[in-house]
């Protein structure tokens, strides 16, 4: 038999490994062919690897080839192996091809690559750990292991893509990778080039279909209706009937909120916004709004919750701003702190305290932590070459230097970090540095500084991460960032600056210096809590009792996941460290970035001038929350989501449910006699509610919002199918049915109002008021769906909840906030909306013409193949091939694609 392979074809890996296992059974010849070679005569599309059997038959499925080798060695087929192989072909492969395509062809990294396969990886891990078998189909390694290992190896051989929380998968993968046949297959295929070895092959492949489906990340995933067992339905009905009586009593509100032994104590922080920037929508969703949803949810669960935030006020940026505006730094901070506080108040952010970092408590806590680090030998002294602008007569802080990034050559790299490649930069390493204020070239001067000895703390950090990460809810991007920092090795980091506006350094010889903001900004959470209560240490020096959730955008991960923990561990004062680090990706504006200087995007203070209520902003920002990948704010999409999800789905349902009670039953909830259909709906709602809880407990904020909309969709369908407005005019039985449907619907509306509370607090309280929900039901969200509005309950006046957004209104807002990029972004938009037309708008020929050409290409391709198969005259073949190439060229032109140059075929 003969095996046809191609350079870099991933399928070759499992096939060679399986051949290695069944070695010696039959002679195997291996031929290498080009990636587009038609080996199997009856297949239109090229396929490798292919095994040609001695009988002349072809095996063109990778799994079937592996299976054949195993069958030859005497192995017998079993159900479990079949199941794994079917799963591999239908579930794993589509996800994996997308991930490999992203990684190898598109050069993406991190969560972009891991995202598509995460579910599949978790499935394998859970199966392994549940069965507690070392291998997929039992005690010994077998076909399923080889096929899956071979499929996964190209991706997982890079430890960055083998999530460490998946322990069972980890050890399974290591075991297989160390076996000889697997090792040899890996060497043959990847040739020690790692994943890049697959590039020549994958580049030639069509884009995997999963990618096309995911092109717009803002769309909801398909909803699935699971089948419910009779027991589940019965249980849901029993719980429902218990009603409000089964709720725990309301906890009295404490002031100040302090941790309580034996309870769940949740401490929430959101990244401290820098005081003199007005936050844009991206800042708001990444930090304060995300944390707010979780804080509100946490309170609804009756968890003991404290939510802390404030402005980060020290540093050069403030000094410079003060110079610009002719004020003192303190005056600048006072002015801008109020602006921030107003914006967050408008967005209804439920801080327990919104403080600031320029307080005596900040100085005291920072100096104490520093002193402890100093005493324990975790601080180094060194002389630093630093950039000084002679014209401005001062040392330049990192962010006041710009230049060319020494790593990637990006022109506008900042002195501390490159926005393009994300690497941290030492300001003096910048090429062509410029003072950002006066644009003159700074000179290098030396100055004595203090350094935090991160390498010395690395072991402690690793030990802590090893205990904290498994089983925690750190977002994948945060894990990824921390892992890559540790892989590159930690270096000492300078913690002082030649400035005046900052926390003084309590050390002789450093009187004219202050702490660098990144060292003491994260202590701001502690000092702000200290401003809230003098018992702040009960929150911050209490790791046994306190669960710390920290919210931020991904650029802040190193400071919260590495630097703060290192300082706190080194200080040895039993600090509370982050249990769950929740980082978002970035939110873009339309098709570009938010930019204050170019006037592009919506900033916090402008949102209120749009006339669109804060809750609508909250809803849309949370709906597109950049979880897992970057997302984009789009005016058109906002209009669509408001009009479809809020107005037509949610608002429509809640309003109808309430109106039926008012109109048909005089405002009093009618008697409910549940049929089996009602009971099924009740169980579905319960299930979706439990799903909502599971998601929010894991801080999957965006996904949990989908659960709310799903329930309301169920509700709308329920009303639509049962038509209470018709039945109310019918027989006695019909009238009773109308009552039941109305009663159940209005109870679902009551549930939705509480589920909405974390997302849209004002709308939530409006609904609760309209339905006259009892106070207890407004403050607690149970894990089961209860009857909170029993028969006889009187509701209030019902009115519509949402307003339609009109096209011209949105269009004028888009123009107002578009900035200089408006036209460009509109042009791009035209390609994105409407979706199905996307391909056609960029083509230069009509779809019909293209279709005709495609058919001709196919026809001509067949002629060529037939001639080749018949071993026809060479010149005749060449002539037909020339025709084919010409047709392909016409097609490419018609489709507006760049021309492919024909490749010379390799001889077999």
């Amino acid at each position: 038999m003969r095996l046809f392979v191609s350079e870099g074809a991933p399928g070759t890996l499992p096939v060679l490994a399986a051949a290695g296992r069944a070695q010696g059974r039959a002679e195997l010849l291996i031929s290498t062919v080009g990636p587009e070679e038609h080996v199997v005569p009856f297949l239109t599309r090229p396929k490798v690897p292919v095994l040609q059997l001695d009988s002349g038959n072809y095996l063109f499925s990778t799994s079937a080839i592996c299976r054949y080798f195993f069958l030859l060695s005497g192995w017998e087929q079993d159900d479990l192996t079949n199941q794994w192989l079917e799963w591999e072909a239908t579930e794993l492969q589509p996800a994996l091809s997308a991930a490999l395509y992203y990684l190898v062809v598109q050069g993406k990294k991190g969560e972009d690559v891991l995202g598509p396969v995460r579910r599949a990886l978790t499935h394998i891990d859970h199966s392994l750990s549940r069965r507690s078998c070392p291998f997929l189909a039992g005690e010994t390694e077998s076909l399923a292991d080889i096929v899956l290992w071979g499929a996964l190896y190209p991706l997982l051989q890079d430890p960055a893509y083998l999530p460490e929380e998946l322990g069972a998968l980890h050890s399974w993968f290591q075991t297989l990778s160390s076996q000889e046949p697997c090792q040899r297959a890996a060497e043959t295929v990847l040739k020690q080039q790692g994943i890049l070895a697959l590039r020549p092959y994958l580049q030639k492949q069509p884009q995997p279909s999963l990618l096309e489906g995911r092109a717009v990340s803002n769309e909801p995933e398909e909803e699935e209706l699971v089948t419910l067992s009779e027991e589940e339905i019965a249980m849901a009905v029993t719980t429902w009937e218990k009603g409000l009586g089964s709720l725990p009593p309301l906890r009295p509100k404490q002031n100040p909120v302090l941790p309580v032994a034996g309870e769940r104590n949740v401490l929430i922080t959101s990244a401290l916004p820098y005081v003199n920037n007005v936050p844009h929508l991206g800042n708001i969703i990444g930090c304060v709004l995300s944390a707010d949803v979780f804080a509100r949810y946490s309170r609804l669960r009756q968890w003991n919750t404290l939510y802390v935030c404030g402005t980060d006020e020290y540093g050069t940026a403030t000094e410079t701003k003060a110079m610009e505006e002719g004020l003192t730094p303190q005056e600048i901070c006072d002015k801008y702190h109020v602006i921030h506080a107003d914006i967050y108040r408008w967005f209804n952010i439920s801080f327990d305290i919104f403080g600031r970092t320029t307080t005596p408590q900040q100085t005291e806590i920072t100096q104490d932590i520093f002193q402890r680090l100093w005493n324990r030998g975790f601080v180094l002294q060194d002389t630093v070459e630093q950039l000084r602008c002679e014209r401005c007569a001062r040392f330049l802080a990192d962010r006041f230097v710009e230049g060319v990034c020494p790593f990637c050559g990006y022109e506008e790299a900042r002195g501390d970090q490159c926005d393009k490649c994300g690497k941290l930069i030492n300001a003096i390493e910048l090429k062509k540095p410029q003072c950002k204020v006066c644009r003159s070239c700074p000179v290098v001067k030396s100055s004595r500084h203090l350094f935090l000895d991160l390498p010395k703390l690395e072991d402690q950090l690793e030990e802590w991460l090893g205990k904290t990460l498994p089983g925690s809810d750190w977002t994948p991007n945060a894990r990824f960032i921390i892992r890559s920092w540790l892989r590159d090795g930690l270096k000492p980091r300078c913690i002082t600056r030649d400035l005046k506006w900052g926390t003084p350094v309590p050390l002789e010889g450093y009187e004219d210096k202050v702490f660098y903001v990144w060292f003491d900004a994260t202590f701001g959470y502690l000092s702000i809590t200290a401003n809230y209560t003098d018992q702040w240490e009960r929150w911050w020096k209490n790791p046994e009792q306190v669960n710390l959730y920290q919210f931020m955008a991904k650029d802040n991960v190193p400071f919260h996941g590495l630097v703060f923990p290192c300082s706190a561990l080194g200080a040895e004062d039993n600090y509370t460290l982050v249990s769950h680090l929740i980082a978002t990706e970035y939110l873009n504006y339309e098709d570009g970035k938010f930019s204050k200087s170019r006037g592009v995007g919506v900033f916090g203070d402008m949102a209120q001038d749009t006339g669109i209520p804060a809750d609508i902003w909250r809803f849309y920002l949370l709906y597109i929350r950049p979880e897992g990948q970057d997302s984009a704010f789009s005016w058109t999409d906002m209009l669509l989501k408001n009009n479809s999800e809020l107005l037509n789905n949610l608002g429509n349902f809640i309003n109808r449910a309430g109106m039926f009670v008012s109109k048909f039953f005089g405002g009093s909830v009618p008697k409910m006699v549940l049929t089996s259909d009602d009971q099924r709906l009740l169980a579905h709602v319960t299930l979706e509610l439990q799903h909502y809880h599971q998601l929010l407990e894991k801080v999957r904020i965006r996904d949990a919002l989908r659960s709310i909309l799903t329930i309301s969709r169920h509700g709308n369908q329920y009303i639509q199918v049962n038509e209470p407005w018709k039945r109310i005019k019918g027989s006695e039985a019909d009238r009773q049915r109308a009552g039941t449907v109305t009663g159940l619907a209005v109870n679902i509306a009551a549930l939705l109002s509480i589920m909405l509370q974390p997302y849209m607090p004002t709308v939530s309280s409006t609904i609760s008021a309209q339905l006259q929900l009892p106070p207890l039901a407004c403050s607690v969200l149970p894990t089961d769906f209860l009857c909170t509005l029993p028969a006889g309950h009187h509701i209030g006046t019902v009115s519509p909840l949402f307003q339609k957004l009109e096209n011209d209104q949105i269009e004028s807002l888009r123009q107002r906030f578009g900035g200089g990029q408006m036209e460009e972004s509109l042009a791009l938009k035209a390609k994105v909306f409407p979706k199905p037309a996307a391909v056609e708008t960029v083509t230069t020929a009509g779809p019909q013409q293209i279709q005709e050409l495609m058919d001709e290409v196919t026809k001509q391709g067949n002629i060529v193949r037939e001639l080749k198969a018949q071993k026809a005259d060479k010149n005749q073949v060449a002539a037909e091939v020339a025709k084919l190439l010409d047709l392909k060229k016409q097609l490419a032109l018609a489709e507006g694609k760049p021309l492919e140059t024909p490749k010379s075929k390799k001889k077999k």
Binding site: Y68, L72, W87, T90
Partner: protein, 130 residues
């Protein structure tokens, strides 16, 4: 869909007691809860299981080669035939199958197998909508 197909298969295999199937996920993958072990998921996995239950193993192929070919076409059924194929994909698929079957009676050559049954079920909807 898949449950109806499996019920049909049960009948043609002569299995008397009908199984109950549930469906999983957006693609509605069939799940069979077996009496003596964990549940089985996936159309071809369950189909192969039913064949063994009916003591008709020959439908899975007799030689190593036949067995591999049967599984290859079962995989083809669930990945290609059931995939979200557009009109062009379906045309190519039918053309490929036609040219493969030109010199054959059944998918494995001369023996009728489970691959023929499931591919027949799978293609049914295309052939009747063309």
């Amino acid at each position: 869909m898949a449950a109806a197909e499996l019920a049909l298969l049960e009948k043609s295999l002569g299995l008397s007691k009908g199984n109950k199937y549930s469906a999983q996920g957006e693609r509605q993958i069939p799940v069979l809860q077996t009496n003596n072990g964990p549940s089985l998921t996936g159309l071809t996995t369950i189909a192969a299981h039913l064949v063994k239950q009916a003591n008709k193993e020959y439908l899975l192929g007799s030689t190593a080669e036949e067995k591999a070919i049967v599984q290859q076409w079962l995989e083809y059924r669930v990945t290609r035939v059931d995939g979200n194929s557009n009109k062009d994909d379906i045309r190519i698929l039918l053309k490929d199958l036609n040219s493969y079957l030109e010199d054959k009676v059944y998918l494995t050559g001369y023996n009728f197998t489970l691959a023929d049954i499931l591919l027949y079920y799978g293609l049914h909807r295309f052939i009747f909508s063309f």
